[in-house]
Amino acid sequence: MSGNSLVLPIVLWGRNAPTHCISSLLVMDDLATIITGCHDGQICIWDMTPELEINPRALLFGHTASVTCLSKASAGSDKQYLVSASESGEMCLWDVNDGRCIEFTKLACAHTGIQFYQFNIGTQREGRLLCHGHYPEILVVDATSLEVLYSLVSKISPDWISSMSIIRSHRTQEDTVVAVSVTGILKVWIITADVSRMQDLDPVFEEESKPIYCQGCQSISFCTFTQLSLLVVCSKYWRVFDAGDFSLLCSVPSENNQSWVGGEFIAADKVIIWTEDGCSYIYKLPASCLPASEHFRSNVGKKTEGSIPPLVYSIADRADKQLLICPPVTRFFFGRREPFHKLLIQGDSAGRLTVWSIPETSPLQPLSSAAELQVSVSISLQEAFDKLMPSPAGIIDQLSVLPGSNEPIKVTASVYIPSQGRLVCGREDGSIVLVPATQTAIVQLLQGEHMLRRGWPPHRTLRGHRHKVTCLLYPHQVSPRYDQRSLVSGGVDFSVIIWDIFTGEMKHIFCIHGGEITQLIVPPENCSTRVQHCVCSVASDHSVGLLSLRERKCIMLASRHLFPIQVIKWRPCDDYLVVGCSDGSVYVWQMDTGALDRCVMGITAVEILNACDEVVPAAMDSLNHPAVNLKQAMTRRSLAALKNMAQHKLQTLATNLLAADNADKGNLPKYSHNSLVVQAMKTNVTDPDMHVLFFDVEAVIIQLLTEEAQRPNPTLVSPETLQKAPGGADKGGSFLANKIFKQVKETIKENIKEHLLDEDEDEEEEQRRREEKSKSLSLLEYNLTMDTAKLFMSCLHAWGLNGELDEVCLTRLGMLRPHTPVSFGLISRGGHMSLMLPTFKDSLLRQLAEGCAEGRKLSVSEIVGKGTYGVSRAVTTQHLLSVISLANTLMSMTNATFIGEHMKKAPARPPRPGTPETPRKTTPQASSPALQAQIKQGPWRGSLCLCLHAWLRSAISLSLSLSLSLSSAHGICSSCSLRHSCGSSAIERSEILINVCFKNCICHV
């Protein structure tokens, strides 16, 4: 078995598209994909059709700072790679097709520009990335390993490079790199075959260095049409140079105090130049700049300032640009293959892409008045979200729509309590909702009877904050030293509230900060006993407080920081609280006395922060409070959450279970609900939360088997059923570990019962007190594991591939059909993640429609299941594996059906609001005998097994064709090492196989 486990993310985006303030832009060579990077570090992949319809497909997570530049990183069109760099020096290599992160690295300095360059050494081709940025060199980086190979440096006045262009010459074998430094000196390096072969770090010196007196150079570009001229755009003027000897051909100043930020040749005689605020102009170059003309170089050496060449087109910005919060990014691209579009693309701070298709011909009007070019297409992320029907689901949307309003109340903070399977959501209006995570996800994702019910699933609302809840913390989850009843929340109303989640009671309100609470942190284990019962709160007035949950008072308030607090670290042995501020200063506070020990900057500050890391194991700060922003969420995912939850602990758990009696049983309940982790994320602090459900397939299987082994009537589990499926990886253990499982389950059950009773009593008390709050929170009256499995299988099942099978799944297995194709994700190395946007199905529809011979329109429901089998191959592989292993497990179980939950049996509630009656206590009791009876029906079980078996077989055959080429070769589970993907023909073949198998299965039934 592979060391990596299979974790599948499913995203609930909610109606608000993530903030996507575009900072960089790229169109892939085939003009079918647009890539945008944003200020918060995400990268969005947009699909574009030849008819210029644009649709966002996926969002890539991984950078922790603003994306500064994007570049293609492969030459071929079969494998499209993309490289991105961020403000903090990170570089990532992504697969454009499925959003996998293939390689990543971090340098000390930030790149501001990257260009792909392919060396041809004989027949061998090697990809290189030429990078420049906040350093006085051009770094040459290998395009597959991202290693720095060598650098191009300058002897004469070395300085930062502000822009660079590669001139390819077909005449000679030499290629030239031309760059302009920030001080306006043009530098030329020649790359020959010897240079490209060089592997050591010897620098390459420049061939030529010439001051061209271009202050504030913004961009340089080489004319690919004539290969004889060079366009240099500076903020106050643009100039054309002869590419041979770099003599000035013409210079055009800017008008009306506009500042130019870039330009490009669009034809041999035309250039397009754009300004900072997003307007573009197309100029016809004077004859002196045209190599084809007899007047070429006619005025070299003469003063050329002042004459403005004729304007062909002007492209104004959109009317609603006042909504923008920073200058847009404009780029020009032209397709070298069909359909030969020349596109001017602009991305702005509202996450909007605007595309102008530039015509080949000039307008027929007199050139004195420049024609205005119309926008070809314009779309923003939010618009794409708004267009969706039904709107993209948020995790608790059904509970958040206020009467008289369409928009659900936004979730602004959330925390998931895995031990109880509950999700706690703080909302915009100050209320906090506790809801069973699986059930609410089922409501949002799947169709079923629950759609008719109001106020389903059962939830509890805590009211206390005046306005938006900004952060939530469940301290018991971090350390068992805290009371498992207490939940801590911070709000925009400056207050921190302690709640009892079992009674819903507000225990205490702290009002000590002078700004909204931004973070709640749990101190590490080895602090003094007093501090151990505190939580640490950080507020936007740059203050830090230690709030004792036990004493119900603030024991320390550190509030002299001038800059926002970036990091909190601890030195428990010295009783120090170390506060790192955004300006790089570090404050050291004594926790006991509250005295400021010292305040330092510079090297000492860095050293103090590093010293804290050595003492305390990593990720001590901000480990467990919900996503304050994505940076932290990502770090947590990669460092703590993913590792702990998925790989390490469960592996140990599995081995422990198999090993035998000496396993530490005390630890087991802790992992019992780790099959599902709900992680709230936001890309920008101002965004509402979106939620990602991480399903750990191994954990689901372990839990299912655990429960199965513990089942009271073991006669039903015949050894045959278990032996029938030797393919299931985790199956062997179930027999061996039966004893342990039983013991474990007994203890779990007892715990569960205790909780359940607790809660019901509390509930009743409360109901007496407050009538309107009486909704039951009977969390564990249903089977959490089965529900998780149901949700998971329903999302993964390939709906629509086989109608009969779908019917069986719906009626017999109790699976539910998703409302719309589910947005899955893909976790690749280092915690990098690609999440499908809810709009991905539009691209899919188009794709499938093209595939259809009749060209008929497919409806959304038809592609519900096909969705996951068409979009991304790496995702498909993961899904197949999950389906196979899970189906295998379910087959061996006695009542392998999701039907029979109390949901079905419960008396349908009248859909009237404001009726608080709930026959809660009777519901589960009524359902259970019925449930038992149904399961014991023999024939039903038989068909169920058969069906599942067939399903499994088909799944296996589907995977066979895939796995022979794919999975076995690459080790499926290691999502990172999937470097190759199979052709689409394999998928088609397996679809046929699936159908054949299903036919067989149905006949048997």
């Binding site: 920030v182 006042q322 919060i325 001038l562 955004s582 790089g584 090297i603």
Partner: protein, 278 residues
């Protein structure tokens, strides 16, 4: 309600923000001037040369006179008194060489980028939202804090990196193999470190442990370079305050604080503006 808050926001943005931006721009211009950017029209010779005498109050083994012209050290005279022989070694830069202090260049470029950001938003520009100002402030602060960090945190290097840096090859007479020097800026001080090395015998009983990267290595640090193992026997550090660097640091700190104050104001206002009763 909406109209009212919109008006207050506009009023604030119009009145307050530009005042702060103007002030900020003045300060940064002053800071940028200190870096005495070589303007392209003038030849290099017109940059002011400054001499700094580097010394330390506690020891006199090393003395240095450095000439700083803009971002480059154009001349250097270093006297090292070797402890054993009380013999004084004298080194100077070769005439054709000068050493660029990358820290100063980076700081200068960052501050110029900050200025460029501000200059595009002068009085003629009207800010429409607080978020817009915040975004601008974020960008400016990023450049300013980078500029400051470049001066306050010198690059930490490993000893082999230092040996390979080419700095030792700058001197006449050539430096012996057992002496290494390093120049850097720490806060407002121009620092010179001289490492005296001795070669570790290959059969030495001492545990060889290669030292990591650091700004200032301590005696006893070991490293391997060109297949020879060395140990640092003496470290001498001398420094001298560069007054204009001190000024720029003060300017950076003030302007960062101005930016932050403006951001704080906007965040207070915007939480009020965004207030929506439920």
């Amino acid at each position: 309600m909406r109209v009212h808050t919109f008006l207050t926001e506009c009023l604030f943005l119009a009145k307050c923000v530009h005042a702060v931006l103007k002030q900020l721009q003045d300060i940064l211009k002053e800071a940028s001037r200190r870096f005495s950017m070589p303007s392209p029209g003038l030849c290099e010779g017109q940059l002011k040369q400054e001499n700094f005498i580097l010394g330390s109050s506690t020891m006199d083994q090393v003395k240095g006179v450095l000439t700083l012209q803009g971002e480059a050290l154009t001349q250097a005279d270093i006297n090292i008194k070797v402890a054993k022989s009380s013999q004084v070694m004298h080194f100077a830069f070769r005439d054709d060489k000068q050493w660029k202090l990358q820290q100063i260049q980076d700081a200068r470029n960052h501050v110029n980028q900050a200025l460029q950001l501000l200059s595009s938003r002068d009085e003629s520009y009207t800010f429409k939202t607080g978020a817009e100002v915040n975004k601008l402030m974020d960008a400016v602060m990023l450049q300013l804090s980078r500029a400051r960090n470049r001066l306050t945190t010198p690059a930490s290097m490993t000893l082999p990196e230092l040996a390979a840096s080419g700095l030792v090859k700058m001197f006449t007479p050539p430096m012996p193999g057992d002496v290494m020097v390093n120049f850097y800026i720490n806060l407002s001080k121009l620092c010179l470190t001289v490492y005296q090395l001795h070669v570790l015998q290959p059969n030495t009983t001492k545990n060889f442990k290669s030292a990591g990267s650091s700004v200032l290595h301590n005696p006893g640090a070991m490293f391997e370079y060109n297949n020879t193992k060395f140990e640092v026997s003496h470290v001498h550090k001398v420094e001298c305050v560069v007054p204009w660097l001190n000024d720029t640091l003060v300017f950076f700190t003030i302007s960062l604080q101005l930016c932050q104050q403006l951001k704080d104001k906007i965040s207070v206002f915007s939480s009020f503006w965004n207030y929506r009763p439920f």
